[in-house]
């Protein structure tokens, strides 16, 4: 009985084990017939290495449907279907495999490049780009991985940057438009500004256009419409030194200008002062003399009016006054005996006009 039981148990274990193996195999098969496409991804399903299905994962916009249609048209004849949207998806287990690519805007960052401009100025240009994989199948076939893509973009963007910069003067890469620049007082006339014909925006647009064309045609990569950025631009060291010298000279010129302006202004104010003082004083002189003259005239008129009543009497009175005022302690007086003062003594009476003094 025990033996029988043991045999039964043995058979039973074998049976169950077989079941387990089959179950596991079925589970693995089941799982491998699912795959997920993340919201950030797009995917390609290949069958023995041949692409059979493209999962685009576009945001729904006006253009997105058109793009899907375009992709369908492009790949329908090759027997490749195009689907839209992230999420859980099915495939034939074992014989189909999935390759996923990012669908987001990706960053390419270049090395700073030393580039000469048309006016022979050497500058460092540091560019960066935003690109995305538009056609994952073309990308898979021609590029393969993102690392590879970076290598291609290095070549393409550096080349178109170089082309666009070297064919133009430096000012075109620096300025955007002809907006009038404001400068420190004192530099307006002395600084000569170069004319801008196209400007930085146009150059960048050109670089984007050139690079995007190649990327699209060859690799299924697109550069975003605003996707190339000049994030660094500076002079090489030798040029830098000469620019610094120029800047210093400019500033010293302003400094000198300020000092001489100060001097000039001060002189002007001092001149003003002189003029003002002299004008004021001379006007006052004029006025005062006028007043005095008028007063003199008035006085003369008054005197004349009074004295004209008897000029002779006036003369007499005035002479007496003169004696009174003009004869003092220090006067030496010599009186002749003819003098009217002595007339009484001599027996003569009456005053005559003959008087003298000394």
């Amino acid at each position: 009985m025990i033996k029988e039981n043991k045999r039964d148990i043995g058979q039973m274990i074998k049976k169950r084990l077989a079941g387990l193996v089959v179950g596991t195999a079925m589970a693995i098969t089941g799982l491998s017939s699912f795959y997920t496409v993340d919201q950030t991804q797009q995917a390609i399903v290949t069958q023995f290495g041949n692409p059979v299905r493209i999962i685009l994962n576009q945001e729904e916009t006006k253009d997105s449907k058109e793009k899907t249609k375009e992709m369908r048209d492009r790949y329908q004849d090759l027997g490749i279907s195009v689907a839209e949207g992230a999420g859980l998806r099915f495939k034939i287990p074992y014989i189909q495999s999935v390759t996923k690519f990012d669908k987001r805007l990706l960053r390419w960052n270049g090395y700073p490049e030393q580039i000469p401009t048309a006016d022979k100025k050497y500058i460092w240009i540091d560019t960066t780009a935003r690109f995305y994989i538009e056609d994952p199948l073309k990308f898979l076939n021609t590029v393969g991985t993102e690392d590879q893509a970076h290598g291609r973009l290095d070549d393409i963007i550096d080349a178109s940057t170089r082309n666009s910069i070297t064919s133009r003067n430096l000012i075109e890469a620096v300025r955007t438009d002809e907006r009038k620049m404001r400068v420190e007082v004192g530099l307006e006339e002395t600084t000569s500004f170069e004319q801008v014909k196209e400007g930085r925006k146009k150059i960048v647009e050109e670089i984007i256009r050139d690079a995007d064309k190649i990327c699209k045609e060859k690799y299924g990569i697109r550069i975003h419409g605003e996707g190339i950025l000049i994030k660094g631009i500076s002079y090489v060291d030798e040029v830098k030194e000469s620019v610094e010298k120029r800047m210093m000279a400019e500033r010293q010129r302003i400094a000198k200008k300020y000092i001489s302006e100060g001097e000039g202004e001060a002189q002007r104010i001092m001149g003003d002062k002189e003029r003002e003082v002299k004008t004021v004083l001379s006007e006052a002189y004029k006025t005062s003399k006028g007043i005095e003259g008028k007063a003199d005239a008035q006085a003369t008129e008054i005197y004349a009016k009074a004295f004209s009543k008897d000029p002779q009497f006036y003369q007499f009175v005035r002479t007496l006054q003169l004696y009174e005022e003009g004869i003092g302690k220090d006067t030496k007086l010599i009186l002749g005996t003819d003098n009217s003062l002595f007339r009484l003594i001599k027996g003569e009476y009456g005053l005559t006009q003959k008087e003298s003094n000394r």
């Binding site: 994030k231 100060g262 104010i269 003082v277 007063a295 009497f313 005996t337």
Partner: protein, 371 residues
């Protein structure tokens, strides 16, 4: 089931029962654990400053607000928490060492002076987003300075240079765009900001960059940076762009200071002159006023005196008319009486032909000997 059947073969009744009982508990425990893990995995909390972005099998499903939420577990749904209300900051041309402490930062000068530790430099280099930015122990300083220089050094529209340090503050306005449209959001903000600022600075003069155009640049760069990030559909919202220190290149700075001191000298010189003017002109005006007033005084005096004299004369004349001879004589004698006593030196001489006694006198300045 397999195990259960095997267990049933056990002959010892007690042993069989206890084994079966144990098995039952093991099974219940297993089911409980699976259910527990499933339930636990389906609960999640979104912090106050964030939203939760839920994806089902990778496909965007929904965005949830702060609080506790349920999702499918076992890999069916996953959630990413995005801190949309947190304002984040990017620094250009320098780095703060401690967040919120502005006084401690990494700048080109600080690196040069050796104030920054190697680990801080390494950290700065590896987070710079620059290509080839693997810290190289032997040239850490050089690398770090290179990176900062790449950020602050700019060309201006008059083909001069300026050192511009600035910060960008931003938050996230659309979490799903932020997650699904762009892979390197931080680097993208940095690249865009570097480019936008350069475009603005490049279109203006060095004076605008370091001084007179700062406010406009801040406003314009915010607008243009936002526009660019919207073009990329990043879901990022720029809160502010702030220019920090904006300077001429280090070597040129003394020359700029010279301008400042010259400006001050100019002011000083003008002020001095103005002071002199302000002293002299009012003084002259006062003097002028004085002159006129004194002339008026003279005039009044002159006229009054004349009138007084005239009046006096007229009165005298009136009296004189009454008795002309007598009055004249009286006046004459009165005057003489007044005048003569005051003269100490008086000579009276006989008036004969040759002067008589006069020639005997030694009058100074009158006689021939007096010479």
């Amino acid at each position: 089931m397999v195990i259960k059947e095997v267990l049933e073969q056990i002959e010892d009744c007690d042993a069989k029962n206890s084994a079966l009982k144990t098995w039952k508990w093991v099974k219940r425990g297993f089911i409980g654990a699976v259910a527990g893990i499933g339930l636990f995995g389906s609960l999640y909390t979104v912090p106050n400053d964030s939203v939760g972005v839920v994806q089902r099998f990778g496909n965007y499903s929904r965005t949830t607000e702060p609080g506790i939420h349920i999702k499918w577990s076992y890999g069916i749904e996953s959630v990413t928490k995005v801190p949309i209300k947190r304002v984040q900051k990017e620094e250009f041309g320098f780095r703060s060492l401690k967040p919120g402490v502005d006084s401690q930062y990494i700048g080109a000068d600080e690196i040069e002076q050796g104030k920054i530790s190697d680990s801080d430099l390494e950290n700065m280099i590896s987070t710079s987003g620059e290509r080839d930015a693997t810290p190289n122990q032997s040239r850490l300083k050089e690398q770090a300075k290179q990176i900062l220089r790449g950020e602050y050094l700019m060309l201006t529209g008059d083909l001069n240079m300026a050192d511009m340090e600035f910060i960008v503050q931003y938050d996230i306005k659309d979490a799903s765009k932020y997650l699904f449209n762009i892979r390197e959001p931080k680097e993208t903000i940095r690249d865009c900001a570097n480019s936008v600022i350069r475009q603005l600075v490049g279109n203006g003069s060095v004076d605008e960059a370091i001084n007179i155009g700062r406010v406009e640049y801040e406003i314009q760069s915010k607008v243009e940076l936002q526009k660019l990030l919207d073009d990329y559909d990043t879901g990022i919202n720029i809160v502010t762009v702030k220019l920090q220190s904006t300077n001429p290149p280090r070597n040129v700075r003394p020359a700029f200071h010279e301008v400042n001191s010259a400006m001050q000298m100019k002011e000083q010189r003008i002020n001095e002159a103005k002071r002199t003017y302000n002293e002299a002109v009012p003084k002259a005006k006062g003097e002028a006023l004085g002159l006129v007033e004194s002339a008026k005084g003279y005039a009044a005096e002159r006229v009054n005196k004349a009138e007084g004299d005239a009046t006096k004369f007229e009165q005298l004349y009136e009296e004189y008319q009454k008795a002309p001879e007598i009055t004249m004589q009286r006046m004459y004698l009165e005057t003489m009486t007044k005048v003569l006593p005051s003269i100490t030196d008086k000579w009276i001489v006989e008036q004969s032909g040759d002067g008589g006694l006069l020639k005997l006198l030694h009058l100074p300045g009158n006689g021939p000997e007096a010479k």
